[in-house]
Amino acid sequence: MPKIGVFVCHCGSNIAGTVDVEKVAAAARTIPGVVVACDYRYMCSEAGQETITKAIREYGLDGVVVCSCSPRMHEATFRRAAEREGLNPYMVEIANIREQCSWIHKNREEATEKAIVLMRAAVAKVKRDTPLTAGRSGVTRRALVIGGGIAGLSTALDVANAGYEVDIVEKEPTIGGKMAQLDKTFPTLDCSACILTPKMVEAAQNENINLYTYSEVEKVSGYVGNFTVTIRKKARFVREDRCTGCGACMEKCPSRKAKNEFNCGLNTRSAIYIPFAQAIPNVAVIDAQHCLKLQTGKCGVCEKVCAAGAIDYTQQDELIQREYGAIVAATGFQPIRPYQFGEYGYGRYPDVITSLELERLMNAAGPTDGELRCPSDGRKPKNIVFIQCVGSRGQTCRDKSYCSKICCMYTAKHAMLIRDHWPDMDVHVFYIDVRTPGKNFDEFYRRAAEEYQVDYRKGQVGKIYEEDGHLMVQGSDLLEDRQVLMPADLVVLAVAVEPSPDARKLATMLTASMDNNDFFTEAHPKLRPVESPTAGIFLSGMCQGPKDIPETVSQAGAAAAKVIGLLSKKELTANPCTAHPEEVRCNGCGECEKVCPYGAISYEEKELRVMGRREKRRVAVVNTALCQGCGACTVACPSGVMDLQGFSNRQILAEVDAICR
């Protein structure tokens, strides 16, 4: 019978406050095979670890069970301790009596009973543990950054400057992201393009950076240090190596009715286009939906006017396969389209716009050359009403439950800029709260309210309607405790932000987890904020949660540091908990290969000895370098032949038995 030691941690009062730890230790002592069981205030402390190593020495333990926090926290700590004492680290099991027990229960008796059950299951498992040896795997010294907004660009530049190769995959024809559409940026009011463009150029010129624009990630396989990614480079119908970005084609293209995405659809563009003057790469792209040649076969004007001979109507999507050691998600966000808020009339009244649309209307390179005009008739607005928190912080299903974090500040920015450029315009802001935590943020807001006399009103707008060709805004002023009704020429909705709509598809490919709002989740909200729980996947920018530019850039740098840390390793410890089929019983049916997300399974004709007879037949073979131990195959195998080291079917059933006893 193997000799087992059980060590119950108090975790201060975290566990001991709800669980009778002594009782758990006492219960352990009654289990056959358990030769020592004790409790201690902090098992992870040096003295706590010493208790364990001492017991291994004194009792000659074959297996150790630590009843403590989640294995995610300290499994590695306790395994290292066992290893120091000469015990195979995989002979250590953790019973999670904190996250899965003490933290979620209030009743001491029930919690103690559950802790005992969890301990019993871990003892049952450790008795069937076998010593395992971890292999090693190499690291591909190249990173992939998905998304070329300010987040992706910053991470890529930091990684590239540390000497590693980086590929950026951007789905739009140009890098830059939302920041390229902004006019001025809070809190310093510097021009967005002026600070972004140099970064874009730097990325394009950095010899360690490879840009794949107008491209998307199609498939991801492999694991930390060794990912294989298929990138779909969409057909531009323009040869990147020839196009000089002169723009002659854009001038001559007869199809001019496509909505200009860069200007939020406030004006139109030609079917062949370069999104904006500073686009990188400065290469045209044909929007196949609107191209007459591609739709009807007739036209071909751009081909005729292009002096560089860059137009190629026969271009096809290209699939590129590349290897990476690390992947960074930087897919950013989009503002919601607030159609569901019928009371504001967005979509019904052209003069009700979103803040991003306002950015374009105030931008010198925008559809009005920077002159603020009403979209309906081009008149100069006199009364402008801002509504904050549209779709944020709500309790109903039309709203996001979270605060979008950036709207208070950019609304203050917009209000201030308008009052600064056009002092004759009146600006009113309806708000729930004004939230300005951040360096120089509150000062910024107060400047808007005090120096620029922006009319801030605490309260919400109930309705916007049209009367005699004028928009009327009806809202409440909570401080004055009365209803207000004011005419408006322009209404600006500070709408909620949401993650990029493709993010979920990507998360599935990356096996990275997301929260209910489709923001990527971090491995630990406080201690590992830029890592995804999936090894080798990192998070940068808005795809992880709402952020302004300063915060985005800091996070991007942090993600880069993590990537550099990974790429600088010579090799990684592989996971020894891999799958293996019991060949004699494997019938080669092929189900396991179908479910393996890492492509680790193949089939071989093998000669086997079955009951004294030799026979040659097809059986499953697991490539242990690729296997990540997810266990999918073990449950897919109809014959129960696939088994996972360290989590064998027998062990799991023994745990279930111990729980049900």
């Binding site: 019983r585 019938n587 014959s639």
Partner: protein
């Protein structure tokens, strides 16, 4: 019948196949049993009629261990089982040559069970029995196996030669899920009582498992020592139910609803209901799926698409 024998004799004699898998008369009246035929002489005893219930496809796994090509006579529903076995790499397609024969339904031997029959035959629209007690008749229409009353139609999922191409168009009959829906309507207690009563009749003879083409593990968990499951199953009073539930899950997504389990059960347990419940659930959750329809691809349970239903989306089982 004549054409079947001619074709098979030709295949054998021309060396296209090394043996034939078909049916011959069984030991008892009205029963046929699977048999291998190695030459023209042996083929004389091959038979094919409404009494040929057994699904031959599973025997091709064993045949695959011999050298050469095996010819097999397949009814429409059996062809799905074979196709599924090909999909699961249990039978190699190029090692079988399939003669697809039409089927007008199989006689349910239960009709003449315990009646002291000496011989049975079909006379017009009557099943004619000669028994120890004299001559008896049963209206033929009432003598078919349950699976034939809800026949999926005449199409073969896989074949090399069609004996009767026009029969492929024979349409489907009835609604095979009706009985499942009726059960679903019942309360939890009623369903539990129904299955407890039903399974209590199980004598653990393993006939269902042995006949099932999807039950083809090299070693069954209920026999093997691998998971201590042998002892475990026997240790609980719930054993029979457990056996059948585990088996139903085991074949989910792979069961073609060939109906062999119910046909061979000596205790008349309607095992097909369990399998059809699983099929119905798969159809509702993942869209219509027929195991054995194709010899490639993934069953819904080993396939994943981002728009798969969420775990708690299904309706209560």
């Amino acid at each position: 019948m004549q054409r079947i024998k001619e074709t098979l004799t030709h295949w054998l004699q021309s060396g296209q196949v090394d043996r034939v898998l078909g049916w011959k008369e069984g030991d008892m009246p009205g029963l046929r049993e699977p048999a291998f035929f190695e030459n023209a002489e042996e083929l004389k005893s091959l038979c094919y009629d409404a009494f040929c219930g057994p699904n031959l496809s599973k025997f091709l796994i064993a045949a695959g261990e011999k050298d050469g090509v095996t010819a097999v006579v397949l009814k429409p529903c059996d062809s799905y089982s074979l196709n599924e076995l090909i999909r699961e790499n249990r039978v190699q397609r190029d090692r079988v040559k399939i003669l697809a024969v039409p089927c007008e339904g199989n006689i349910d031997p239960r009709v003449f069970e315990n009646r002291g029959v000496l011989s049975v035959s079909i006379e017009g629209d009557q099943l004619h029995l000669t028994t120890l007690y004299g001559e008896e008749n049963e209206p033929l229409a009432r003598c078919f196996l349950e699976r034939c009353t809800v026949c999926r139609g005449g199409r073969h999922a896989v074949y090399d030669e069609l004996l009767c191409p026009e029969a492929e168009e024979t349409p489907q009959k009835g609604d095979r899920f009706e009985a499942v829906r009726e059960l679903e309507e019942k309360s939890e207690e009623e369903r539990y009582a129904f299955w407890q009563e039903t399974f209590s009749r199980c004598i653990r003879c393993n006939a269902c498992r042995n006949a099932c083409p999807a039950c083809n593990c090299r070693e069954c968990v209920f026999d093997g020592a691998a998971l201590d499951s042998r002892q475990k199953a026997a240790a609980v009073p719930f054993e029979e139910s457990l056996f059948h539930i585990v088996r139903a899950y085991h074949v989910t997504g792979r069961c073609t609803d060939c109906g062999e389990c119910s046909r061979v059960c000596p205790s008349h347990i309607p095992l097909h209901l369990l399998n059809r419940k699983m099929i119905l659930d798969i159809n509702t959750l993942y869209g219509p799926y027929q195991a054995g329809d194709s010899d490639k691809g993934r069953s819904p349970l080993t396939d994943y698409t981002p728009d798969d239903c969420e775990p708690n989306q299904g309706k209560g089982a």
